[in-house]
């Protein structure tokens, strides 16, 4: 439905060949980020992010339930994403489309594989009762780069989460036990130009997209290539390096928001 005129695509790529972007950002530069936590009282943890004009809200809910049979001593983590119709004229109501599922699973992998949530500490009775953590990502306004917006908001929400032990008569409420966060960094490729934190205009003409989640040591925890273009090995290596660098800045921003950790 949203149609990008061909000349616009050419214009953006030509700008790119001269090292420029339509909003005057550097290729590796992220847009302005505003990150707030505790925006939903009913949730155990929550956050809202503005990444440029992209707006995402994440809520964390917790419940008590049975563990997975193969991990009887661990809490359960589950992530869902909704691309609700208000976020874009192209989003329709209905069951989650593949884009929503991909988004949820990529954010989930970053959280899970980085072990930022200490799931061992979420065990109540081994094999019987554990904490279940629901991460619900609500996309409110789509203006490019949902992956990073959702990821960052998810982390901020996690860091603001209080385990509702009192409600389940399991003692006093306490902050969710967490470790160092993974930071997701997304870039797109148009022709052979690679730019980070794509705006909507850039994302609409992208050939390929790569999301890299790195941890505090600069190690990789999750990756996802999207769209139907391709990358050379060298391009991927360059992207990884830039993602690690960007990861550091975003990690700082996250720490500032949650008040240091």
């Amino acid at each position: 439905m949203t149609l990008t005129p061909s000349i616009k695509r050419e214009y953006i790529i030509n700008l790119g060949r001269q090292g420029k972007r339509m909003d005057n950002r550097e290729f590796h530069e992220f847009r302005n980020i505003k990150l707030e936590t505790n925006v939903v009282k009913k949730a155990e943890g929550s956050a809202r992010i503005h990444l440029g004009n992209t707006q995402v809200m994440v809520g964390i809910k917790m419940d008590v339930g049975e563990p997975y049979p193969d991990t009887p001593d661990s809490g359960v983590l589950t992530t869902a994403a909704e691309l609700i119709p208000m976020a874009s004229p192209d989003f329709e109501a209905g069951p989650p489309r593949e884009e929503a599922i991909e988004l949820a699973r990529v954010v989930d992998r970053g959280v899970r594989e980085s072990e930022v949530v200490d799931v061992e500490k979420l065990c109540i009775e081994p094999g019987e009762k554990v904490w279940i953590l629901f991460i619900d990502i609500h996309i409110l306004d789509y203006d490019g780069n949902l992956f990073d917006a959702a990821s960052l908001a998810t982390l901020a929400a996690l860091y603001s989460t209080t385990v509702p032990a009192e409600r389940f008569e399991l003692g006093d409420d306490y902050p969710l036990p967490l470790r160092e966060p993974p930071i997701s960094c997304t870039s797109i490729k148009m022709d052979d130009i690679i730019i980070f934190d794509p705006s909507l205009d850039e994302e609409l003409i992208a050939d390929a997209r790569l999301t890299v989640a790195t941890d505090v040591n600069g190690d990789i925890r999750a990756m996802q290539k999207g769209l139907n273009g391709s990358y050379s090995k060298e391009e991927i290596q360059k992207i990884i390096k830039a993602s690690v660098d960007n990861g550091r800045h975003l990690r700082e921003l996250l720490k500032q928001t949650i008040g240091g950790k």
């Binding site: 149609l3 990008t4 005129p5 061909s6 000349i7 616009k8 695509r9 214009y11 030509n14 700008l15 001269q18 090292g19 420029k20 339509m22 005057n24 950002r25 550097e26 290729f27």
Partner: protein
């Protein structure tokens, strides 16, 4: 130089009794009274009360110059998006080329942009546009940005004063479509400047002195086009 206090009205706001004034565009009449239909600006033209919406999609008017993006080439016509509630139809008879049946794709295809004119809006809101005018053509270069259709008059300025000012300093070629699409062509510094100024006009309230502010912005040798 006059400071005109604009009158913002809301839907359902009572404007005047039917005897005193006549009901113009954007209004409705009930029980002998004229009311506003929109969130908009009230104006009085020869006794007709009109409400010009402050927001909303483009409402096509016959004769408007618009920038369209082709959605689909069909057998003897094209379906064109002109940022209106409905797509517009461009018939092969309304283009300056001789197009054989089924050859439409050779001339205009999905993603191509055109400078067009609204030919007809019928009662069922079916839209037809034309390219048959010496100022109309298929756009080949430059960039297109979307702006709020309600902001178009401010971007153009009184008697084109704002747009002339921008052109003067940036040396860019600019065309503002009534449908909220702006075409810009020039060197990339100039084009970037134009976009920056237009976004400023869109965002800021047109407070007294905005024109000066824009003139300042245009005069400045901005360093924000970064080198790489």
């Amino acid at each position: 130089m006059s400071k005109e206090q604009r009158n913002v009205v809301l839907p359902s706001q009572e404007l005047a009794p039917v005897g005193e004034k006549k009901a113009g565009r954007g209004t409705f009449v009930e029980n002998g009274k004229i009311y506003s239909q929109h969130l908009g600006i009230l104006n009085d033209r020869s006794g007709f009360l009109n409400v010009v919406p402050l927001t909303g999609r483009y409402s096509p008017v016959e004769g408007d110059f618009v920038i369209g993006v082709v959605i689909e080439a069909m057998a003897s016509s094209w379906l064109v998006d002109i940022n209106a509630p409905y797509p517009a139809l461009l018939h092969v008879n309304e283009v300056p080329w001789t197009v054989d049946f089924g050859d439409t794709e050779k001339y205009l295809n999905h993603g191509d942009s055109v400078m067009a004119k609204v030919l007809q809006v019928d009662e069922a809101k079916k839209l037809n546009i034309t390219l048959k005018d010496r100022n109309l053509y298929k756009i080949r270069n430059g960039n297109i940005i979307d702006v709020e259709p309600s902001k178009v008059p401010r971007i153009i300025g009184r008697k084109g004063s704002m747009i002339s000012l921008i052109k003067q300093y940036t040396r860019a070629r600019i065309f503002v479509g009534q449908n909220g699409r702006v075409w810009i062509d020039g060197d990339e510094t100039g084009v970037a400047k134009v976009i920056q100024v237009i976004r400023l006009i869109e965002e800021e309230s047109l407070s007294f002195g905005l024109t000066n502010k824009i003139e300042e912005l245009l005069k400045n040798d901005t360093k924000d086009v970064q080198k790489k």
